[in-house]
Amino acid sequence: MNIEPVPGGPGTVAPRAPEPLSRRSRASALLTLAVRHPAVVPTGAVVLAVLIGAAIVLAAGLNPISAYSAVLAGALDLENLDYTFSVWALICGMALAAAIPLRMGEFNLGGNGQMVLGGLAAAFIAGQLDLPSILLIPLAVVAAGVVAGAFGAISAPLSTRYGIPIIISTLLLSPVAVAIVSYLLRFQLGEAGSAVAQTERFPDSAHMWALGSLSYSNMGLILIIVLMALFWLVDSRSAVGFELRVIGANRRFASYGGVRVGRLAFGAMAASGAVAGVVGAIIVLSPPYRLVDGALLSPGYTFAGLAAALLAGGRPAFVPLTAALFTILQVGGGGMERSADVPRQLSDVLQGVVIIVLALRTIVDSRRTGRSATS
């Protein structure tokens, strides 16, 4: 039995056909169409952020043009590209670690802890086992993923069982992990006679495979690209990806609909932690082939990755692009200081401005989509 449609009686109003567009309004329609392209708003935000940054540089009595060209040169000069790509891979990895929980509306602020635990696991395998490369490296990477994944996963039951938001538990657990790793490096696993807490240099068999003659980018880059592709596939085409999005939109709806929220959150947090752990593994299996206390955290990959993921709205297709943006700012920031004498801190300023301006883009979004903001 069907619910009958209302017959077109005299009182009914036919849905109105869109009025024919005048040339002017067609032009403006085209313009709206262009403005609505998903790439436009982020690009506009970046441009705006760059202008704000320029204003700051100018106000400080420095030359914005030379500052920016130094940023670009520092990141994109041919001889620096190798390095830039290796950093991009790491930021991409941490962005992925942030993007997975973001799909279910959660923030992972504990990337630091997960990354160092991954680094620790990889360092332990690489330093203790005497295996050929072909076994040792995968084993180290997998161990990193497992240990960091297990650590990341702790936040899921804390949230689903005890109602402690993931953003808080990851934030609080991270320093604990960092302290544990630091302690182990200092007292148990550290190299004797070394001035800082660090492991011994790993044997050659534990050196991540190089990509041709490149000196920074190695198989880690490929690994991250594969993980990104996997994330994209799972997010857009799989039942689990769909369920994650449903959780993000309305958790009660998800559990009513039979989504095993606890399990999925567990899986997502484990995957998120695991990716962060793999990033840690890639770092320690690359030069200088050791785990150095504090060295994984000082470049701030976690927050750069988080920012990139937020900027992309967690959407897998955009993550590589936004990660590239933060890579350029970060790597180029060094170049800027080297050659343009603009303080390195400007790079943080710019990253902050980009994030803020992009967050404010929702104004544009919500004006466009009416009452409901879709992502």
């Binding site: 402690i164 808080i168 657990l173 320093p175 604990v176 960092v178 303080p343 967050a359």
Partner: protein, 315 residues
Amino acid sequence: MNVFEWGFVAAVLLAATPILYSSLAGALSSQVGVFNIALEGQMLWGAFAAVAGSFYTGSAWAGVLIAVVTTALFSVTLAVGSARWGADPIVIAIGTNLFALGITGFLMRVLFDVSGTFSPRGLQGLDKMSFLAEIPVLGPVFAGQTALVPLAFVFIVVIGLWLKLTPSGLRLRGVGEHPEAASSLGIKVASYQMWVTIAGGALCGIAGAQLSLGNVTVFTENMTAGRGWIAVAAVMLVMGRPLWLPVACLGFGAAEALGFRLQGIGAPQQLTDAAPYAITIAVLVGMRMWVTARNRRPSLSAQPVPLPSQPESTS
């Protein structure tokens, strides 16, 4: 080492005060439904502005004032962005924190031509209340502190009472609990959220000023060093009841001070680093376990809707 002595209490208070101010800002924001994790960045800016202000004016209290005003301005982006324009406060806050870290370091180099630490000769710090020195208990606890330390508690009590007793406090609580309900009664929800967030900025300004002109007299890059995040955790811990903030913040202060003291008997530095965070998460879990356990079981006082008196209700 004797753990409980007045000096210990003073140390705990000192460590807790900046966190107290900033967590008060966070708690107020959460009362109006804005999750404010920009406390770290705002406090850092406040610390910088206070030192810069004191440096230029030669007066520490002018520094505090400048910190309060500029940090309030600093928080306008978050306030307007999240309340008026509906942007995600978490994202803005993450941007704000990064921006604050960058801009303070940048300005230190551009304005003062130093990197890392700025502590020019003659930089005025806030006066200690040394006139209290002779008074028992108060003396050892407060004589070495600035007036901002006891003021924090005054703030908490006043704000707590204000929330409870005044029309605007009532409205403010309603805005956070059910924004649509408030706006359907003509309350300008966005305005409340905006002004409360800006007021929170001012409180973070005090927090930063206490840190850079009260706890010490210097500004350093990344001087807040995670204290703003601890404040966020404190807000979580009290679950929207500002009057409990002192307990949470003093708890953190005590965890830190205790950690330092334990170093004295050989505990590793890493334990000190981890202790406040580990204790917080443990307390959170404990609290939630207790709450869930309580809800699961019918308590003795738990009564279902009372059954009616039987037949006479038929008419």
